[in-house]
Amino acid sequence: MIANHGYKDGSGEYYISIDTDKCSLCAEHGCLDGCPGQVFEIEFDDWDEEVATVRARERNKLKQICAACKPVSGRLVRLPCQIACGSEAITHSW
């Protein structure tokens, strides 16, 4: 399942997508410490599998939180959360 956490407002779309099929196979959960903004947590999904999710209180603030890791130039880089995720399960919409 692709879980899109985030929001859309007048300024754009800010979603972090997690491929839970890949994520559930990971035992390391590198995203927890790999994200400087600490936006991830691990939860049991509806099928009792451990998957990463974006903390509820951070979901509507992603534009601000993730800005620290995104180059102002818009140049594409692998973000710290993506580097930390061994399953390559994390993508950003912006």
Binding site: M1, I2, A3, N4, H5, Y7, K8, D9, G10, E13, Y15, D45, D46, R59, N60, S93
Partner: protein, 298 residues
């Protein structure tokens, strides 16, 4: 104070229902789903996987009481007691506050499962237009979620936004959709993305001489274009269905269909019960899995 000032135009009808085709639940497996949403609560009772009874009411100020009220109202006149229910799933915003639930399941999974039951296995794209959020869900032929996207940042595109407009224009909420479709020419959507500013904008339009119908058309149109962008972001695939309270608003549904160029499946059930229905289906599967599928009345 005049009657208009005291009337609550946003207030939708609360009711309960019992399936007349199922005379008795004794000797069958009874499961339940309770959806405690931000605005409304529903309880669905299933007997051997068939819809037996449900209630649909407004959520009160405390989730546990709302859950208890909803299940009690659904059980009213059935002779059922909580002990007769093999397994109960709680869902919705207040899912962890359903005191008698055996398990909590997210409303995203429950809506997909419920829509699969309501509309059949051909549903692939589902739009749940809830009281205070809006979800675009992609599911497979078993009703299992393959992707989802949710927007709860603001009230635009939600049932609460529509309630605000019904009150502003003094139009009963059940009549908003048809009234908005009665305009001869479709006006431009209201431009504000926030419901508070949209309300201000609508007040300005009324002062400029717009009819209520035209203002409603502009708001329904704005709501439709906002939720369509969510659907497109999550991926749009036929068949397409809408659940939640706004699915009863023909003005929004028709405009969504018009923008997408796809007709939504027509519901045979109350679209507000999809989450609780999915919960009751999960409950049945979980009861069978955990051998808790006791037979009621024995």
């Amino acid at each position: 104070m005049s009657e208009n000032e005291t009337k609550e135009y946003w207030r939708w009808k609360e009711y309960n229902w019992k399936n007349p085709d199922i005379p008795d639940w004794r000797g069958s497996m009874v499961t339940a789903g309770v959806d405690v949403g931000s605005t409304s609560s529903q309880a669905v009772i299933m007997v051997d996987g068939q819809l037996y009874a449900f209630s649909n009411m407004r959520t009160g100020s405390d989730s546990p009481s709302s859950a208890i009220d909803a299940i009690n109202w659904a059980m009213e006149g059935t002779g059922l007691a909580l002990e007769d229910i093999s397994f109960t799933v709680g869902t919705g915003y207040g899912r962890v506050n359903v005191p008698f639930a055996n398990k909590a399941v997210t409303e995203i999974a429950c809506h997909a499962r419920g829509a699969n039951f309501m509309y059949g296995p051909t549903v692939r794209t589902l739009l749940d237009m809830g009281g205070q959020d809006c979800k675009a869900i992609h599911c497979d032929e078993r009703g299992k979620v393959t992707s989802f996207l949710m927007n709860d940042k603001c009230a635009a595109g939600t049932g609460r936004g529509m309630e605000v407009f019904a009150n502003l224009l003094a139009v009963p909420i059940e009549e908003v959709g048809d009234m908005s479709l009665s305009v001869e020419e479709e006006p431009a959507p209201v431009s504000s993305t926030c419901v508070v500013f949209a309300k201000t904008e609508a007040t300005g339009l009324l002062r400029a001489g717009w009819s209520k119908e035209k203002v409603l058309a502009a708001y329904c149109s704005a709501m439709a274009s906002r939720v369509v962008s969510l659907l497109e972001r999550n991926g749009m695939e036929k068949d397409f269905a809408i659940t939640g309270g706004i699915a009863k608003n023909s003005g929004v549904v028709k405009r969504i269909e018009r923008i997408l160029g796809i007709e939504a499946l027509k519901p045979n059930y109350d679209t507000q019960i999809a989450g609780a229905l999915g919960g009751a289906l999960f409950a049945k599967a979980l009861a069978e899995k955990s051998n808790k599928g006791k037979i009621a009345g024995r």
